[in-house]
Symmetry: C2
Subunit: 256 residues, 2 copies
């Protein structure tokens, strides 16, 4: 459990250790507390089944890609083997010359569920984290199906941690930004709010659960706002969501 | 371990029980042996990560769907939550009116691997089973991405067991058929050979491993031959592959 400076708690900037997996059963605190600056966080969740991603869920992003907004959520899958945590490198594959970041709010599922009505979605959401739906645009276009273009190892950064106290209403009104640091300068790329989703959080979880059983730890990526852009080896890409934190990943070439 | 009549062994039509998971470590036989007719087999493998499927990998099937054969394998993912075994029902979703069977040779991965050269693919293949890439054609078309249309619960029958003794050359020259039993009559739908794959088994495994880490138990579906067709509640669909066995699944409506 992380206690942040901005939470104004008694132990700012620390992390409290716990035993067990909160997605499986109750956990116990070990009593140990470490400085957040002195630990290396790994991905806060590795889905045991799937990352379900939703395309074209912000109208301005659909427009910048030349697409219409679909009437129903447009769903694709990213493999759990693509997940990395904050600080871990995005490895730029040799097969592509056009890799984009896509900042997204990630919903972490807490309970096995199927056919969840919209009004009961709060019962199955464990929490929220930042996600980056890294995408090889050239392969996305040439392959048609996005299994490879969005499924490369390291193409699903999640983190830095899972925030568990937000209501769906609160998570549906958060600033979401991405920035890229290149040659020492940090440039803003995406800046929007989760309020601009076409299909909202509860609707998305309900929709996804209407065709596939969701398992604890499964993740739903809720789409990206406008402003997506290229990343290159040497860059560091940051996804920042208000009230959650910042997910930062350096980009490295395959050979290094 | 299953001993079949056609193997001419000492215990035809029986199944030998073992402890442990052969994908994880060595196994021990319990010494117990049961009649195959008296057991209910479950899915022989639930991928811990993913089912990677390949589209348009038989030229005659690509043609019957009005598509060209892609230069590189066209990859999409099916979730592990869609896997069922032989005998288990395919549940016909309410969201579709056009569900097709697709008989496919399924490759079961035995070792964690990445960037496997074609010549080393035999080292990472655990075995082969029959697969059915059940597909909702209407949603496939309207969604564009196939995550939902091919990702419904029960849309990935695998089984009846994993055959582990076939070489890649042997697995690349097997008769593959599908039949549908409706109103007491069984009609042939697909009849081809795995020799007709555009991209062969070794090439597919190598290609998939070039972008994603494969885990033991992950499955690669190698595409379907021509002759796909509709299934309806009340049908039973059979996928039969020479030297492997027959995967049979009844189709039932959502409400029962």
């Amino acid at each position: 459990t992380v206690e942040l400076d901005e939470d104004h708690g008694e132990h700012p900037g620390t992390i409290q250790l716990l035993n067990g997996d909160p997605l499986v059963a109750a956990v116990q605190y070990t009593g140990e507390r470490l400085l957040l600056d002195e630990v290396r966080l790994v991905a806060p969740v590795i889905p045991r089944s799937k990352v379900v991603a939703v395309g074209r869920n912000y109208a301005a992003h659909a427009a910048e890609m030349g697409n219409d907004v679909p009437a129903e959520p447009m769903v694709f899958l990213k493999p759990n083997t693509a997940v990395i945590g904050s600080g871990e490198p995005i490895i730029y594959p040799q097969q592509t010359n056009a890799v984009d970041h896509e900042a997204e709010l990630a919903v972490v599922i807490g309970r096995i569920c199927k056919d969840v009505p919209v009004e009961r979605v709060p019962e199955v959401v464990f929490g929220y984290t930042c996600g980056n739906d890294v995408s090889a645009r050239d392969l996305q276009k040439s392959d048609g199906q996005w299994g490879r273009a969005k499924g490369f190892d390291t193409f699903c950064p999640l983190g830095p941690w899972v925030v568990t106290h937000l209501s769906i209403a609160e998570a549906s009104d958060l600033q979401i930004r991405s920035t890229v640091t290149r040659d020492g300068r940090t440039i803003e790329r995406q800046s929007s709010t989760t309020a601009h989703m076409v299909h909202g959080i509860a609707e998305l979880v309900s929709f996804v659960s209407s065709f596939t059983t969701l398992l604890p730890g499964d993740v739903i990526l809720t789409g990206t706002p406008e402003g997506v852009g290229r990343i290159e080896p040497g860059d560091t890409v940051h996804v920042e969501i208000e009230g959650i934190g910042t997910l930062s990943n350096p980009v490295v070439a395959t050979d290094g």
